[in-house]
Subunit: 237 residues, 2 copies
């Protein structure tokens, strides 16, 4: 059992420490969706799979718990988070807040090459929307992340930037397993991207950019809510 002859487990890249290894491996498994939401994580089992001991695995799991990617219950075990729909809403709302700020703070540092890159990505998204045959929700989501990454990665405040990353990770984990894409939003989303780029390009005031970025995500949240009709009273930010 201890022999690392496991085919599926992608040979864990050499990490600085074993707890880091466990963290990165689990993180990748969860974000990529290989570990579905609700899946149980037994410390000893994970340790055996990675060929290490339980102590570093435990530490990795606690870190993931702090990021909201797993829930850890005493004497019961850890489970991959992402079951609760309300958590999805909270995450979206929080991301709306921090991503809006990050995008606004990044704007002054966004250069021509960044804008060009973002435009190129958005063009591919538009192509997808225009041609129904080519539309691929997974790829569309990936492009969406790439687009926004360009716009918020220059954020001078590392704390806010970190919160944005955590939000995206959590969202990716949650969405991949439980929630469905709302394709009706795709066209609007691409249009809002272009509007956002125009604002940044012309050096619009920071609050204006923040509001645009925030509402861009809020609109996605609203679309999700409308498609489910489940939580009509969710507070708007």
């Amino acid at each position: 059992m201890s022999a690392p002859t496991r085919a599926a487990a992608p040979a864990p890249a050499p990490a600085s420490s074993k707890s880091q290894l466990a963290y990165e491996w689990l993180h990748a498994q969860i974000v990529s969706g290989s570990l579905a939401a609700g899946a149980r994580l037994v410390l000893a089992q994970v340790a055996g799979e990675l060929g290490i001991s339980v102590v570093p695995v435990r530490e990795a799991v606690r870190r993931l718990e702090a990021e909201g990617l797993v829930t850890f219950e005493k004497n019961v075990g850890a489970t991959v988070a992402g079951i609760d729909p309300i958590e999805y809403l909270y995450t979206m709302q929080t991301l709306s807040l921090v991503e809006g700020a990050a995008t606004a703070l990044s704007a002054p540092a966004v250069g021509r090459s960044d804008l060009a890159a973002a435009r190129e990505v958005n063009a591919r998204m538009r192509a997808m929307v225009d041609d129904d045959h080519q539309f691929d929700p997974v790829e569309f989501t990936r492009l969406n992340h790439e687009f926004h990454s360009v716009l918020f990665e220059h954020c001078p405040n590392p704390h806010i930037l970190d919160l944005v990353h955590r939000g995206w990770n959590r969202l990716t984990a949650l969405r991949g397993s439980t929630f469905s894409f709302v394709p009706e939003r795709a066209s609007e989303s691409v249009a809002e991207h272009e509007e956002l780029l125009r604002l940044i390009e012309r050096g619009a005031p920071t609050p204006e950019i923040e509001l645009a970025a925030r509402r861009h995500r809020s609109a996605t949240l609203d679309a999700y809510l409308a498609s489910t009709g489940a939580h009509p009273h969710f507070p708007t930010l």
Copy 2:
């Protein structure tokens, strides 16, 4: 040298687990200022002081690291964070963002009794400001926290609320050791509190409350920057 002669280690309250005990103890020590910024934390030493082993201490330290209260370096040891002034600015800015949102989201749930409590606290702050003899920076800071707690504790989004708490903790730890209060701000601060209460009481729109709360903290940050003149180009949110 082994006994740090710390002022009466308060008998660690019984906690659910020992790692939780270590976490709470260290957290309290740092936030209260008993452990000054830059102080070294040796795992074995802390473990001995609490009468437990190093493993749970290690876990507690990693959690504190995730919250930004300590920095952990391999084979060197952990140190209480809070030396870097720029970190203080980042924290203030982030707190401005999340606290503004939390206050705005809480507003609909703030009732008469909450408003009365907040007014009572603010009255005490005003009394302090009016009478120079009674002014006590530490107590003023505590009252300030109490005031804002009333206004953001009803936040329906637990993620945002958690970020607010973390921000305050981090700020408290940083401020207690390295940064000085700006007493010139006290009077304005109290006035802004009253304005904030009026907005909430009359049911002002959410964005308006958010902006007021955010700028209230931004003003404190600006005052700090002005008093030091060190970082004139810090971006405004």
